[in-house]
């Protein structure tokens, strides 16, 4: 069976909604680190398929709903 080809997924933060709760960095440390003020610096590279579940969990966990997955 041929693997499904899906558009690349990347991570994004809504900078106005973000309140520096920091859960995204906690749950996805290989893609998100926090600056000295507690705000996320997100790795811009494509999210590999094996990390998608964890990324979706982080997006759902964000109390501000600021952490998102984007297809482009």
């Amino acid at each position: 069976m041929t693997p499904l080809i899906t558009p690349p997924v990347r991570l994004a933060v809504d900078p106005i909604a973000c309140r520096a709760h920091g859960l995204c960095a906690e749950m996805l440390p290989d893609f998100v680190r926090l600056d000295e003020w507690g705000y996320p610096i997100v790795d811009a590279r494509t999210l590999p398929p094996e990390r998608r579940r964890a990324a979706r969990a982080a997006a759902q966990a964000c109390p501000a709903l600021a952490f998102r997955l984007r297809r482009n």
Binding site: D14, P15, I16, A17, C18, D35, W37, I41
Partner: protein
């Protein structure tokens, strides 16, 4: 199309927008304006509207608010949007180093109003709004009253709070919707979802003035001066250590040194020029004098972006102290919505202040560079990016001062009054 007035382009001092003022020494009344430029062309139907957008496209007009976006593309985008559509003239001029919009509105308001009405006709908008700083309408209401019976639409003048980010396009659209003058993070641009969610054209008032002349005299006339990639004339604010600071209309393509000469040239020996206002970039003098004033020339020199404003710094001044003042102002002007900007800008302003007084040290300087590396691109608008750009260019251009200050030796010049505008 009407014939051009009988003055011919005469090299770099071609005066198109400010011609009326130079002729009479006073703001033109509506009757004088019509006598000089002819009546505003009619745009009676969609075909005429399409022809006008096409003329603007062929003319190669680009925005004069700092973004430099092709105006015809914006017009077409809004014209393709769903009704009702809205056009907004942006005369707020939040950048302290820029005075051109105030000068244009004060001296040639009828050109701006013509341009706004023509833009409204071009995109099929019924609502036309002119935004200015809330405490000064530059006599616009009087100018509008003079011509009300001739105008196809009523133009509403709206006062906007005088904040740096309030005149950013998405902030303006938001303010006109619900009185909140802060930029938004929505991915859609105002051309698609602007004021009250409608397709909205937001154009700088100078852009609209050029549009008013292109509608009359055509694309070929517009391109008769300037260069191929940067046709026409543009207004530039020249300040700092020049003999005659002020707003001048220059022909694209003359060198930056020529722009300074139009303003009387350097008043004293000079070391650098800030290009693009507080969010702009420093460049050493005399090297900067050779940069051609075109989009491509400025881009090649790393000076692209930002509104057309120059601030000349004398040799007997501290570039680091000036950068500190600029950063302090930008830090005070954040909308306070995004963490990296809200916290990052005051932090780098404080670093630059410590550097200016000789207390930052090499570790602090390294930390400043790290901060500059993470702040850009993480806000809803370009405000933090401009501050970072300024700071980085200051550290680069004034590198010798940086080394001395980081070693604990401040300079006496840091205590001198600032050369930056706006009483910073």
């Amino acid at each position: 199309m009407t014939a051009a007035p009988d003055h011919r382009p005469v090299g770099p001092r071609e005066q198109r927008l400010l011609a009326g003022w130079l002729k009479t020494g006073t703001r033109a009344s509506y009757a004088e304006h019509r006598a000089r430029y002819g009546p505003v062309p009619a745009v009676p139907d969609r075909r005429a509207a399409a022809r006008l957008i096409n003329a603007v496209d062929r003319a190669g007009l680009r925005g004069r608010g700092g973004g430099g976006f092709p105006t015809a593309r914006k017009l077409a985008a809004v014209a393709a949007g769903r009704r009702p559509r809205i056009v907004v003239g942006n005369g707020c001029e939040g950048e302290p180093a820029s005075d051109k919009d105030r000068v244009l509105l004060t001296l040639a308001p009828h050109l701006v109003i013509d341009g706004l009405l023509l833009a409204a006709a071009a995109v099929g908008a019924r609502e036309a709004i002119l935004c200015v700083r809330s405490y000064d309408d530059h006599g616009l209401k009087d100018a509008l009253a003079e011509r009300a019976e001739h105008d196809t639409r009523a133009v509403r003048v709206v006062g906007v709070p005088h904040r740096y980010v309030a005149s950013e396009a998405s902030a303006l659209a938001r303010f006109l919707t619900d009185r909140d003058p802060r930029p938004t993070a929505t991915p859609r641009r105002p051309t698609q979802r602007g004021v009250r969610g409608r397709p909205t054209l937001v154009d700088n008032v100078e852009t609209l003035a050029h549009l008013a002349l292109i509608a009359r005299y055509g694309a070929a006339w517009y391109r008769a001066c300037g260069t191929d990639d940067s046709p026409g004339t543009t207004l530039v604010t020249v300040g700092g250590a020049v003999d005659l600071p002020g707003v001048y209309e220059i022909e694209h393509g003359i060198r930056l040194g020529g722009v300074l000469d139009v303003a009387g040239g350097p008043a004293v020996p000079v070391q650098a020029v800030l290009v693009g206002g507080l969010s702009g970039v420093w460049f050493p003098l005399p090297a900067a004098a050779g940069v051609p004033w075109t989009a491509a020339g400025l881009d090649r020199a790393g000076l692209a972006g930002g509104v057309a404003a120059l601030t000349v710094l004398p040799g007997r001044a501290c570039g680091i102290a000036e950068a500190m003042r600029a950063l302090r102002h930008l830090a005070a002007e954040t909308a306070g919505q995004c963490g990296p900007c809200m916290f990052g800008l005051p932090a780098i302003a404080a670093d630059m202040a410590a550097l200016a007084e000789g207390s930052l040290g090499r570790a602090g300087l390294a930390r400043l560079r790290e901060r500059l590396a993470v702040i850009s691109g993480r806000g809803a608008c370009a405000h933090p990016d401009g501050a970072v750009r300024h700071a980085r260019s200051a550290l680069h251009v004034f590198a010798a001062d940086v080394t001395r200050h980081a070693a604990g030796a401040p300079c006496a010049w840091a205590a001198l009054p600032t050369w930056l505008p706006g009483g910073l």
